[in-house]
Each structure stands twice: as C-alpha cells, then as structure tokens.
Symmetry: C2
Subunit: 121 residues, 2 copies
C-alpha cells in the first residue's frame, strides 16, 4: 500500500501560471497552497485572517505600509489580518501560502488577478 | 524600521533538545513549530485535529497502522485527526509542524516525552 506524501518542489512542476495559488494539502479547515509569482501583484488585505508566506525557491518582497519585507529561500513572514500588502518578485519565485480554506488571493479587490481558490494539484 | 521575518533554518540553531517543538509563528489560532527529532517517539494520536509534518532537513518516518511514510527534505504529510502515529528518525532530522495552538506533542499519552506546548523561539 502506498501512503500519499507530498513533495513540495515536485508539485511546482504542475504550475504554469503566475499568481494563481494551488492547494496541495489541508489540515482541518486550513490549507497549504503553492504559487509561482513574478512581477507585481496588487495592494490588498484579508480582513478576516492572517496569512503565512514561505519562500520555497527564489526571492520575493512584500510591501507593507510600514516598509518592505524581503524574503529569500527558507524565510517566512506572517501578514496579519487586515494588513494591506503588495507582493512582488523581480524573478520567478516559488512560494507556499498557509491560510484558512476559502481565502481569495486578491482579498476584496476582485479583478484580473483574482484566481480560483479551490484548485488542487 | 526592521520588519521581523523568520529564517526557518536559523531558528533551529536555538533548539538543542529532541522531540520538543518550539513555536516560531502563528496565523490566527494555528502555529508553526520547529523540532529536532532523533530516535523513536511514542505511538499517539490527536483526537481533535489534523497535524502537518514538513521535513526541513534530514529524513524521518511516520509509522501508521496502515504502513510507514518515509519523508525526506522538502516532503510533507498530514496525519488526520485521531489517527495513531509514531514518528521516528534514525539520524537527527529537522521538522516543521503546523497545527492549532495548544496541541500536546504526545496527545493524551502524557509522560516523559511530553513537552511544553507554549515555548516560542
């Protein structure tokens, strides 16, 4: 019998689009999502929840009102509930997000960059 | 102004004991904990919650009634609520756990291996 474990880096091979988080695992009602990002995202917040960012490969920045956090591989940051933030990455970067099920990537700023929030890979 | 980000590998430098998870971050009421493990843990379950294991460095195994999951660096596994499991690692292994605040490492099997569940590093 094979028990299903998850290889995080291999999962990224199934992602071709930027800024479109895909779910890889769930604990209770919280989800682990992977995303490839490149370029600039939009300013947004999540009014009901904190959100964790972990960089799996590459580098990214998270602009906040109070300054910019630069994250490299193996670094993480928690954006607190309601805090406006704008992620960006000069080069392609691979990240893991941890947040409750149902979070929308753009928060309430529904638009071109809004992605499906229920796609598993 | 410096914004506090977390370097996961560096945090392990603050851990000297085995099987004693330390909290490094929190989103809402969920926590990210790091632990160094080596040798055998005990069979136990968490009756109220799922638990995610991610191997940051090294290799570990999780024995389950249905078989054994072997996890290497960058791999993860979710032990579902109530499922009895026994982690072990032949050599020192560094792992990240994600679970709700307040989880006890040994579940209801309180004993020598039961660690504090509120230590931040």
């Amino acid at each position: 019998m094979e028990i299903k474990k998850i290889n995080i880096r291999n999962k990224f091979l199934q992602i071709s689009d930027y800024w479109s988080p895909k779910i890889i695992a769930e604990i209770n009602d919280y989800q682990f999502k992977l995303a490839k990002i490149k370029g600039e995202f939009i300013w947004h917040g999540h009014k009901d929840t904190d959100e964790a960012f972990i960089v799996v490969e590459g580098s990214m920045n998270i602009e906040l009102e109070e300054g910019t956090v630069s994250l490299n591989e193996g670094e993480m940051y928690v954006v607190k509930k309601g805090v406006e933030h704008k992620p960006y990455a000069e080069k392609e970067c691979m990240i893991m997000l941890i947040e409750p099920r149902g979070v929308i990537n753009t928060g309430e700023k529904i638009g071109e960059l809004t992605a499906a929030n229920d796609t598993w890979i």
